[in-house]
Each structure stands twice: as C-alpha cells, then as structure tokens.
Amino acid sequence: MNNIIIYYSIATLGTTSVIIALLLSFAAKKFKVESDPRKDLLVSVLPGANCGACGYPGCEQYAEAILTKDEVLTLCKPGGPEVSKKIAQILGKEVEVSSQRMVAVVLCAGGSRTKDEFIYNGIKKCSVANKFYEGQKLCKYGCLGFGDCVEVCPFDAIHINKYGVAEVDPVKCTGCGLCVKACPKNIIKLVPCNYQIHILCSSKDKGVKVRQICSVGCISCGICVKSCPVNDIELKENLALMKYDKCNNCGICVEKCPTKCIVDVTRVIA
C-alpha cells in the first residue's frame, strides 16, 4: 500500500484540528463573559423558586439585575425580609424592610352554592370563560373555579375546594402575588397574615338579587358593620368590606352574619 496517503491523512486532520483549536481558544478569550462571583452567592441566598414575583423571569435574572442595574433589594416577596437582609449583607449595603408577611385570600365562597346561568362547554380556563358573558355563573363577580390561580402558584398554596371555589392555604402562601394577577375577576387580594377573618364575597349586586342566586353571598344587611367592636367593616356598593386596619380577630361578625359569608380562615384550614 502507498504509505503516503496515511501521512497525508494525518497531516490534513492534524493541521485542521490545530487551526480550529487555535481559532476556538482565541474566540473563547475574545468573547469571554465576565461573571461576578457575588452572583452565585446571591443565587444561593434567593429561594430559587423562579416564581417571577420580583418581576424577573427567575432568581438568576433578579441577581443579575441587582448586580448590574442596582435593582431594589426588597423585591423578593417569597423570601421576605430575611432574604432582603442577606442580599444587603452580600452587597455590603443597608436595607429597610417591613417584616409584615402578606398572604393571599380569595374573596368568594360561592362555587357550587351559586346558581349557573348556562352550561359552559368551552376551554376550561377562567380567563377564557370570563370573556364569554363574564362567566357561566349568575353572579358576575364570583370565582369561576377553573383554576387559573392554581396553575400559576409556584408554592402549591391555592387549590379548588369542595365547593368549586379557589381557596388559599395561608401556611404555604408566601404572598408573591402571582394568583392576584392571574384572576380575571380580580377577587384575590393580598392581606397581612395576622388578619384571619375575611368577608368571602365580592358581589356588588343588590341584596335581593344576591339572595336569589347565591346562598352564601353578602346581602349588605349591615349587621357586621354594627356589631364590629373596632369598626373595621364598612358597607360600599352593596358589599361589606373589611378595612384590615384594626381587626383583632374577635369573630363576632362571623357569628352574626346571616348568610355565613364571613369566615375565620384558621378554623377552615384546621
């Protein structure tokens, strides 16, 4: 056999590989992306849930923004004040934190206890059903029960309960606010975690109509307003609203409500 072909093959492949290797090492130096060592520290301190509550798609992007764009240090709501303090420590800065933990609450208790206007056979998402005559229930303010909020919660803190209404587990909830944005009826609210009594209705319909279509709706009778010892409930647009200001969880309104739409959340979960 002609040995020259072996020499030629070795030479060709060898030269090609060496040229390519030189090219790649040159490119690696030229296109090197400097990564701040503090970024890894920050990422390890952040919860790592990539929930998006801070406004960035993930914890890594928030860490990047903190280092490069001097972003606000307190945006991580699931992490809370402890994480904000740790971030400040890493960066050698001071940070003001409010240690009030927020939880979400769904202000509706209807579900199967509210009458349907029609049978809905469309795509089973709240955002879609809401576009169709504002949903399949007769109450146009209430929870539709298809679980857009359940799908978006990264902490498994919200579920559809036995009445077909979304319910938040205040133990698991971190107050990130993703369910608040996901609800097309805007009936999920963020409240400080120490308030355990909630008025589970968002219906602005008159009391007569509410009584016809929902067995647990607020009929704006005003009994809770009168019986509250610290005056923390007000009536507005045919709906009783808690101000979440002075409530001491005494529970008097829970007993006095004729339709039982005011609920003590701790008792429900436990």
């Binding site: 072909i5 030629y8 093959s9 060709t12 492949l13 090609t16 590989s17 390519i20 090219l23 790649l24 490119a27 690696a28 296109f31 090197k32 992306v33 795509i123």
Partner: protein, 195 residues
C-alpha cells in the same frame, strides 16, 4: 431531466426537497424547539448562519485539500470537525452579544452540532458536485426551507396547546401526526423542476 440552474436549486431545496418534511433529516431540533414561535425563529436564524458557513467551509476544504490529496474518504471526519467548531463559535458569540437568545436556545445549540441537517447539506454538496455559487444557493435554500417548516409548525403547535384532544394523543402524539400531515401536503410538490 434534473434542472441544475440556480433558481431550480433554490426553489427545490426550499419546497420540493424540504430538508425536514421531505428528506426527514434534522427532526430532533425541529420537534424540540418548535413549541414556541419565538424560540423557533431564533433556532432558524442560528441554523441559517451555521448551515451556510459550514457548507462553504466544507466545500473549500473538500475541493482544495481533500480532493487534491486523494483523501475523499476523510470527508465525514473533516465535515464533523468543521461543523462542531462552527457551532462552538456561534455559541460563544451569542453568549456575549445576544444573551437573551442564548438563554432561549441554550440546550438546542449543541443539538445543531449533531444535527444531521447540517452534515447532510455538506454531503449533498459533495454528491451533486456543486460549484461554490451553487453550494451557497443550495445551503441558503435548505436553511430557508427549514425556517418555513419550523415556523409553520410552531404556529400550529401553539394552537394545539389549547385544543381539546383525547388523552391518548396529547403532547407528542398529536405533534407527530401533525408533522406527518404537513409532510403529506409538501409531497404534492414532487416533480417540480424534474426533482
């Protein structure tokens, strides 16, 4: 018979011999990236760039190094070397200059490396004995054909996400069925330009 003018090569590589839907080459990246239209667009841009560049470099290496030295049998190794290093270069460049696209494509860039579509183009250039201009036209056309196929497909897939489907075909079941139907429709173009 087979028309070898530039326009014929161009049109046939886009539609008649569409690399995905007619030749069934390079399917892994096709199915992997097409779940969102945005990543499909990014992927097709990367494929266009890599395919053209590697086709030209492969042609140069083949005709000026391998053929004069009677080393045609080395074409497989040499082409793979060239493609792998080109993809590495593209990856480095994107990581520095277009980090958003790099994050979106991340895992799929190595897929282009082992993507037989790029290697297939290099082999076709050798088989059909194209000159440099025909090579450029052929690789551009193939990349455009890939782009058309993946954009059409990702648009369909975005709609399939919301469609009410039987549980048995949900996910990749209906995806493959859809791709097969698309391929059937492209088969109607067989015979154009004698291809």
């Amino acid at each position: 018979m087979k028309n070898s003018t530039l326009i014929a090569i161009f049109i046939s590589s886009i539609f008649v011999n569409n690399i995905i839907l007619m030749r069934f080459i390079g399917l892994c990246s096709f199915f992997g990236v097409s779940n969102k239209l945005s990543s499909a667009l990014g992927m097709s841009a990367a494929v266009f760039f890599v395919m053209n560049l590697s086709a030209v470099v492969s042609w140069l290496l083949y005709n000026f190094v391998l053929v004069p030295l009677n080393l045609e049998f080395l074409k497989i190794i040499v082409f793979i070397l060239v493609i792998a290093s080109l993809v590495q270069l593209v990856e480095l460049f994107m990581k520095k200059n277009i980090p958003a696209l790099f994050k979106a494509l991340g895992i799929y860039l190595p897929l282009i490396t082992t993507n037989c579509a790029i290697l297939a183009v290099s082999f076709f250039i050798v088989d059909y004995k194209y000159n440099l201009l025909q090579t450029l036209v052929f690789s551009s056309g193939t990349a455009i054909g890939y782009t058309i196929a993946i954009i059409l497909f990702s648009s369909i897939r975005e709609r399939l996400e919301l469609a009410p489907l039987p549980n048995a075909v949900k996910g990749y079941g209906i995806v493959f069925i859809t791709a097969a139907l698309m391929s059937l429709s492209f088969m109607g173009l067989v015979g154009l330009f004698g291809f």
